[in-house]
Amino acid sequence: MGELILQVNHLSKKFGVNEVLRDIDFTVQKGDVISIIGASGSGKSTLLRCINLLESATSGEILYHGANVLRRGVSPAEYRAKVGMVFQSFNLFNNMSVLENCVVGQVKVLRRDRETARAHAMEYLERVGMAPFINARPRQISGGQKQRVAIARAMAMDPEVLLFDEPTSALDPEMVGEVLTVMRDLARSGMTMLVVTHEMAFARDVSSRVVYMNGGVICEQGTPEEVFANPQRQETRDFLARFRG
């Protein structure tokens, strides 16, 4: 097993009286590709957003290389620079070109000089096949292309972990493939990834571990073979059966 990067201990999250996450425990090691599956409203996205501090957890701790990032005094910005995130709705900066989207973070946050940042951004834009579109604005390209740019933008920051929040859910079916191909490629290159997804084929083929969430708790986790072929819990079986319908 690789080096321990993230450790989530007893994490809970309440929206008012609504308990969305209950006592979540899990770890992310270097090189892991973890798929988080489960029905809508089971807390998958909230968990991911808590890990990236976009939501503040109600209780529990998140250890990043052993240090709790929920402590007061820890700068969320510094931590987030190392934990990238790709959103369902892309969230590319509308006021910038494709290239500028991938450069701005490197220049402003990592203090790289503009030329280095450009070259670095181009490297990833090429890898996701968006190099010809560097002058386009986000509103001028398709959803699948936007998501590929968003992945390049996150990768250009050289994050240690990359979080994907349902990256293909907002895409037309014919665009899902291009984004999944990029993600497969990333996983193969050894990137540590945490993917909330409804793409069961992706979870099964690409991930090293699958986490099934239900009602705000981790119901079952294990290798894809364990979870897909031989689920232990009735809830998991019901969920998978519904999916294959």
Partner: protein, 314 residues
């Protein structure tokens, strides 16, 4: 018809006598409106930005207190200056300062007084517009910026404010046009704007209607011009509606990494036919895989003694 001829003659007479006053009045009006709007926008942006600094319950109590205090102060400022007529604000400030300081402090320059009043008044309106402009930017933009490690200030400067500025451009234009017209109340403190030229000329000539005609045409010319200019600026800000595909990218060539890596991949932009067939192949392969998984899972479930009810569902 001879009424029109009369009007023409009167206007010519007015223009001959007071033309200089009208022209300099127009110039002063435009300069005052422009500077007032610009400083007003600055005030508005500062207020709007201060107003939207986020805080959570976990923040330091002092920070929360200060932020709340700032919000209250801005609220009071906005309500007072939005809720009273500018003509009164001018009188209030221009005569208020000497009154309270026994003439120790007073406005030495009528320009300073006029700009101050117009700026403060515009600022009160702009504060709300900017707040609205910032709120109207998709929250996803903030999340996207946060997720790559930007601080609140970096997010604001690089992502939110440029978009908010574009969103409130029509509001800024509105305010500018309103200021062109409403600076006419500044005659009350003796500022030599366009409308004061009317008051001066009719005081001597009694040609009320001809002078008003000159004023109407003058104001309309200024506002129409402003309208066109603003539209043009908005178009500029929107940028080109098309973009160039970079086929042989010099930037990448010089970086020494370009090797047409998309060749024969699904992202090959140069060979769309090959891409199509490849995508078809990929889709077919995935469908096969899914089918295989389904079969496999059914077999597994059967082995587990659950086959009966699963099958029933199907």
């Amino acid at each position: 018809m001879n009424k029109f001829a009369q009007l023409g003659a009167d206007i010519a007479k007015l223009w001959g006598k007071y033309g200089g006053a009208y022209v300099s009045g127009m110039r002063n009006t435009l300069v005052l409106a422009l500077i007032g709007t610009l400083i007003g926008c600055l005030i508005g942006f500062i207020c709007g930005i201060l107003n939207t600094i986020p805080y959570t319950k976990n923040d330091h109590p002092v920070k929360i207190f200060v932020l709340r205090l700032v919000r209250v102060i801005i609220r009071i400022y906005v309500e007072v200056f939005r809720g009273t007529p500018m003509v009164l604000q001018a009188v209030f400030l221009y005569y208020g300062l000497p009154y309270f300081t026994d003439n120790a402090v007073r406005f030495t320059s009528i320009w300073l007084a006029a700009i101050l009043v117009v700026s403060i008044n515009t600022g009160a309106y702009m504060a709300e517009s900017v707040r609205g402009g910032i709120i109207s930017v998709d929250p996803g933009q903030t999340e996207g910026a946060m997720a790559i490690g930007m601080t609140h200030v970096q997010t604001m400067v690089n992502v939110i404010l440029p978009q908010a500025l574009r969103n409130i451009m029509p509001q800024i234009g509105n305010n500018f046009i309103i200021n062109v017209k409403d600076t006419s109340v500044m005659f009350i403190i003796g500022f030599p704007e366009f409308f004061s030229a009317h008051r001066a000329s009719v005081g001597a000539s009694y040609l009320y209607f001809p002078s008003a005609t000159v004023e109407m045409v003058g104001y309309l010319t200024m506002t129409l011009l402003a309208s066109f200019l603003l539209r043009w600026m908005e178009k500029k800000m929107d940028g080109s509606s098309s973009y160039e595909l970079v086929q042989t990218d010099q930037l990448v060539m010089t970086a020494g990494t370009y090797s047409y890596p998309d060749n024969r991949t699904p992202f090959d932009e140069r060979n769309p036919e090959a891409v199509k067939s490849m995508l078809r192949e990929e889709l077919r392969r995935q469908a096969e895989q899914d089918e295989a998984l389904r079969q496999g899972a059914v077999v597994e479930l059967r082995r587990g003694g659950q086959a009966g009810d699963r099958k029933g569902e199907r």
